[in-house]
């Protein structure tokens, strides 16, 4: 595995009014690495990953993604967003567009790809997420699991170097979770760099290189999954793991 860091966060802090959502967070992700982030709600894990493509602006510290510093410069933001795909908890598919249009919009407008090329690519990724036959439907006609797989395909159509997942299975019915996780495991197997906020600890065990536990805006623990689950160093991590692994 290449050891070049593709994401670096140094002392990143962020406030919402008086509330400090991120407290001097450090994070390094190497090319091809899979990082799973977990923690109680309100711990800042979503805020952190949303800072990586500047859906949220950090106020202190330095974030470097793919060699570019994320500051107020809009050209940097556009360049980084084109390289970083994001999958949301609520899918956020465009409901007024067909599945195919959802997938071709980014490549055509942000990458200047021709309609024919973009459609070819869209069909390719729809097949990869195993719903090739739904191209002409509208998102509202699909199940939650199918919608989330379309959302993953939509991000992949941009040929990103990094994929961010913000609780991708939290809005899904239990029987649909595995179909989305399967696609993500497959993606991980192909060497995609991934940062995944999730409570699916089975997924973390299977694919993560590093598991990060966040609480109250801080990174409390970062370790390979074996060490993380077998011998957590922090009491806070242990308490959290007891709660989510007990059932």
């Amino acid at each position: 595995m290449a050891a070049a860091p593709i994401i670096e966060m140094r002392g990143v802090s962020k406030w919402y009014g008086d509330f400090q959502a991120l407290k001097s967070v450090d994070l390094t992700v190497n090319l091809g690495q899979k990082v799973v982030v977990c923690g109680p709600s309100g711990s800042g894990k979503s805020t952190m990953i949303r800072c990586l493509n500047r859906l949220e602006a950090h106020e202190e510290g330095v974030i470097t993604v793919d060699g570019m510093v994320l500051d107020g410069d809009t050209r940097h933001i556009a360049a980084i967003r084109a390289e970083v795909g994001m999958v949301f908890q609520q899918f956020n598919l465009f409901p007024h567009l067909t599945v195919l249009r959802n997938l071709t919009l980014g490549p055509m407008r942000a990458r200047g790809m021709s309609a024919a090329d973009a459609e070819e690519r869209a069909h390719h990724y729809l097949a990869r997420v195993r719903i090739p036959e739904q191209a002409d439907k509208y998102p509202g006609q699909l199940s939650g699991g199918q919608q989330q797989r379309v959302a993953i395909a939509r991000s992949l159509c941009m040929n990103p170097k990094i994929m961010l997942f913000d609780e991708p299975t939290s809005a899904l019915d239990p029987e649909m979770i595995s179909e989305v996780l399967d696609v993500m495991v497959e993606l991980a197997g192909e060497g995609m760099t991934m940062v995944v906020v999730t409570h699916e600890m089975g997924f973390a065990r299977r694919v993560a290189d590093t598991v990060i536990f966040m609480d109250a805006g801080e990174v409390v623990e970062a370790a390979p999954p074996d060490a993380f689950f077998a011998a957590p160093k922090s009491d806070r991590t242990r308490t959290f793991l007891d709660k989510i692994l007990s059932h």
């Binding site: 956020n92 007024h96 509208y138």
Partner: protein, 271 residues
């Protein structure tokens, strides 16, 4: 079904009785006499300008309203101030005053005198645009935040995000409100008669002066507007059906209209 038929009977009877009572003189626009036909034709030709006035003003007001709404929502400080001042200022001017000012005041300022029709289009568009701006603002704000975030995360520019993601969804949501505003516009266009554009109301006024039959001519004028507004409402409903519901997805099952319900009732053997 019988109840609505009773309504028709009562209205029809009232009209027939009124027409026969001697107080009405429908001869003035009777299609059976040559002069009646000339008068009728004169009145009906007003549809052209009323429709053109309303449509052009509505299109112009919608474009201006969209720009003003976007300035208010996404502009810098100056943009937001422009939005507020524009909306408050033009919302405060009575439509009639706006028409008079544009037609008689504006030429003094810019040195070009506009024909009544174009003065009317400009004045109606200016008067309507702040209301449409507010409609669009509400519509754009109602689109889920995640939609904009998804567009951002794909690397779309702000313009593309608006054009392909946000505005299309907003327009679908505000279509009923825009339809409402269009009906207002059709009715407001009557005010342009004051500066002499030969639309429905102007023609009715001119014929009343010539024929001294205000009751019949103005009643006919009411019916003319009624027909226009009904057609406009049906058009808006058709658009809504075609473009889809609030979630933006096309409505697959067509909403049943009056004729469809009648046909279904007849098939079931009801009267």
């Amino acid at each position: 079904m019988t109840r609505s038929r009773n309504h028709f009977l009562i209205v029809g009877l009232a009209l027939v009785l009124a027409g026969c009572s001697g107080n009405w003189g429908w001869y003035v626009i009777s299609p059976e006499t040559a002069s009646g036909r000339t008068n009728l034709r004169f009145l009906l030709l007003g549809f052209e300008l009323t429709i053109l006035l309303s449509l052009l003003a509505m299109v112009a007001a919608s474009l201006a309203g969209l720009v003003i709404a976007l300035l208010g929502l996404y502009g810098n400080r100056t943009g937001r101030v422009v939005n507020r001042v524009y909306v408050e200022f033009f919302r405060a001017i009575p439509v009639l005053v706006m028409i008079l000012w544009v037609h008689y005041g504006l030429p003094v300022v810019v040195g070009i005198s506009l024909p009544p029709f174009w003065s009317g289009v400009i004045a109606l568009a200016l008067a309507e645009s702040p209301f449409i701006a507010e409609v669009f603002r509400a519509g754009i704000q109602s689109v889920d935040r995640g939609q904009g975030e998804a567009a951002d995360s794909l690397g779309l520019t702000w313009r593309d995000k608006m054009r392909y993601v946000i505005v299309p969804q907003a327009i679908r949501r505000v279509l009923p409100a825009l339809g409402n505003q269009f009906v207002y516009m059709l009715k407001m266009s009557a005010l342009v008669s004051i500066i002499g554009a030969q639309e429905l109301t102007r023609r009715a006024n001119e014929l009343v002066v010539a024929e001294y039959r205000p009751l019949e001519i103005y009643t006919f004028l009411i019916l003319e507007y009624l027909v226009l507004v009904m057609i406009a409402s049906a058009g808006v409903r058709w658009l809504e059906n075609r473009m889809g519901g609030a979630d933006g997805r096309p409505v697959l099952a067509r909403r049943q209209g009056w004729f469809a319900r009648r046909a279904a009732a007849r098939q079931k053997g009801e009267p």
